[in-house]
């Protein structure tokens, strides 16, 4: 069985994230990049399946600029067998539609029995990609899944909603998106880190995928402008001259908070 996991290199959630006001795009140099936390859990889900069946092959796929090989390296060090990197200058600023079309082109003949993605990425939070991908590929999509089981040629999982938990399943091949309810990712081992360099990583440009750069779906959505969030206003700083406690209590009482 071949599982392809979609991973994404994103700015560290714990650091400040910055948009470039000129392009409306993410300023990639502003913060350290890490493998998206939810997609790391997607990888963990695939590796856990591999733990119980060594014949399973796990491939990590990412679309992103050159430096995104960092995400693939991390995935390989955690235990993925190989990597696929979709990289092309023409993809800079790609929106969800373009991304889905490009990844679908790469997956069409990749022989995946199961495609696992995160339900959303911690930077964009669109949460659309897995469903779009399934549509492109004509595959069933099980989205927002926790507790993933593969058995007898089918994939099954739980999908929690506000009122109930559904158990959903589909015949393979299928696309699954998992939530942060799935188990935490493992740490790479020292051996995994040292061995990552020897694992194969294929790199594909748009032309390799048969998507000529000018024929690629142009960004279907364009950011026209963006501005930084305004600083907080309306706060009244209280400088303690001995009465701060009283004034704070008065304020809370006035706002009916105590």
């Amino acid at each position: 069985m071949r599982i392809i996991v979609l991973i994404k290199h994103v700015p560290d959630t714990w650091e400040e994230r910055v948009l470039d006001p000129a392009t409306g795009r993410l300023d990639r140099s502003a913060s350290e990049r890490v493998v998206d936390e939810i997609t790391e859990r997607a990888l963990e889900a695939a590796l856990a399946l591999k733990d119980s069946d060594k014949s399973i092959e796990v491939v990590a796929l990412t679309m992103g600029p050159g430096e995104s090989t960092g995400a693939i390296k991390k995935a390989l060090s955690m235990g993925a067998d190989s990597g696929i990197h979709l990289v092309d200058d023409a993809l800079a600023g790609a929106d969800a539609m373009t991304t889905a079309a490009t990844i679908a082109a790469a997956l069409r003949d990749a022989g995946a029995d199961l495609i696992i993605a995160g339900n959303e990425s911690t930077d964009g939070r669109g949460g659309m990609l897995p469903a779009m991908l399934a549509e492109h590929l004509g595959l069933p999509a099980l989205t927002f899944i926790s507790d993933l089981v593969v058995e007898g040629g089918r994939v099954r999982g739980e999908r929690a909603t506000e009122t109930a938990t559904s158990v959903v399943s589909a015949a393979l091949p299928a696309v699954v998106s998992i939530t942060e309810g799935m188990p935490e990712p493992r740490f790479p081992s020292f051996k995994g880190i040292m061995g990552a360099k020897k694992k194969p990583v294929a790199s594909h440009s748009l032309a390799d995928l048969g998507l000529a750069a000018d024929a690629t779906p142009r960004a279907a959505s364009v950011v026209l402008s963006c501005e930084p969030r305004p600083g907080r206003t309306g706060a009244e700083p209280i400088v303690d001259d001995g009465s701060a406690g009283q004034r704070l209590a008065d304020y809370l009482a006035q706002q009916r908070l105590v």
Binding site: K73, K74, S77, F187, S189, F190, K191, I193, A196
Partner: protein, 392 residues
């Protein structure tokens, strides 16, 4: 977070490879998730977290520079120095225990015969078994070559009798390397043995009440007629002291790295603290004398880091002055790291003295690094003598 960039200044000699950067990232994640949140509690309750240590074993921490054919990670001492520095930022005491464990695994890997390597090392490398290193005795510390535990040959066995003092991990570990006397007085009469925890006649003293290193037990190991098969003798008769000293070269670097990690963690905390803590109408970080304190801490830790990484290269490349290089790194790093940690405590004011802030724990933990694996006075003996020998 560090005041200056984490990478040492003297690139390319000390630049990190991509793999080393990935190793450091992994250890940082591990230390932040698995050690740091519990360190204060483990110190307070004197809890030795064997389960967490075994978890580290699955990642390769049990045999960092042990050969791959017996389950080790096969990394270099330069890698190990980076790993221990980062690990100690989570918990100095646990990192230091893992260093001692690595000394034990490395000794059997390096000096053991084929059967010994296969029998003992894989389970040490995975940390299914934990190791202890037994050299010191109640009446032989700095002068370890004066040890008096006896090993008397009796047919296919040796009979070991004596007391080992201050043994890290003792009582909770599985494999003990014991240095004992088989022959003449002095270093040439000492032989090393591998003794499992369930050997008849082996027992342990009470867990010592100590200033720091509370998250790992320290006990006397009592050998009362313990029969050790000759097959478990490590190396030949009379070779034990040399092997024990070779193991300590690496151990000293790891301890230096642990000191560095603990002190860097304390420095980072202190920088945060004085930037946000206000007194006399401005942040403490605007007091020039405190800026100078930070400057001294950073400078000395960077110097120690360079000395450490250079000594690690001396082991990796088999430099003839390796013992002196390791002694210099250990002496310097453990001294400046203790001073820096103590300064971090001072910069925190009263909060530095509270357990909750974790700083006083680092100070207590680092203090013993100036004493064990050869006191810093003994380091000076090694360094000074090697300089004088060159001149003669």
């Amino acid at each position: 977070m560090t005041l200056l960039n984490d990478a040492p200044m003297a690139a390319p000699a000390h630049a990190l490879t991509d793999e080393q950067a990935a190793l450091v990232d992994m250890v940082r994640d591990f230390a932040r998730h698995e050690l740091e949140p519990h360190a204060i509690e483990w110190d307070r309750t004197k809890h030795f977290p064997v389960d967490v240590i075994r978890g580290a074993g699955e990642l390769g921490f049990g045999g960092i520079y042990v050969s791959e054919d017996v389950g080790g990670a096969g990394l270099t001492r330069a890698d190990a120095a980076l790993i221990f520095e980062e690990l100690a930022k989570g918990d100095v005491t646990i990192a230091a225990y893992i260093s001692i464990h690595n000394m034990v695994a490395w000794m059997i890997d390096t000096f053991g015969d084929g059967a010994q390597r296969e029998r003992w090392v894989p389970r040490l490398a995975s940390m299914e078994h934990l190791g202890s290193y037994c050299l010191t005795e109640p009446d032989a510390g700095s002068d370890a070559a004066a040890l008096s535990t006896r090993a008397v040959r009796d047919g296919d066995e040796y009979v070991l009798t004596g007391v080992k003092q201050f043994i890290s991990g003792a009582g909770s570990t599985d494999v003990y390397i014991v240095m004992a006397r088989t022959g003449e007085p002095g270093p040439a009469g000492i032989t090393a043995f591998i003794v499992p925890s369930d050997a008849a006649g082996l027992s342990f003293g009470a867990n010592e009440v100590k200033m720091g290193w509370n998250a790992q037990p320290t006990r006397a190991v009592i050998l009362d007629g313990v029969r050790v098969p000759a097959a478990d003798r490590l190396g030949g008769e009379g070779q034990g002291f040399t092997m024990a000293m070779k193991a300590l070269n690496g151990g000293r670097l790891n301890i230096a790295a642990c000191s560095l990690g603990g002190a860097q963690w304390a420095l980072d905390r202190a920088v945060q603290h004085i930037r946000t803590r206000r007194a006399f109408g401005k942040p403490l970080s605007e007091q020039q004398s405190l800026v100078f304190t930070i400057a001294d801490m950073e400078t000395e830790l960077q110097a120690a880091r360079l000395l450490l990484r250079s000594a690690a290269q001396s082991i990796d490349t088999g430099h003839p002055d390796v013992a002196a290089h390791c002694a210099m790194a250990k002496r310097f790093a453990t001294d400046v790291a203790f001073t820096a940690a103590n300064a971090a405590l001072q910069l925190h004011g009263g909060y530095g003295y509270l357990a909750e802030y974790g700083i006083e724990k680092v100070v207590r933990d680092l203090r013993v690094h100036q004493i064990l694996e050869g006191t810093n006075e003994i380091m000076k003996l090694i360094i000074g003598r090697s300089v004088l020998e060159k001149a003669s």
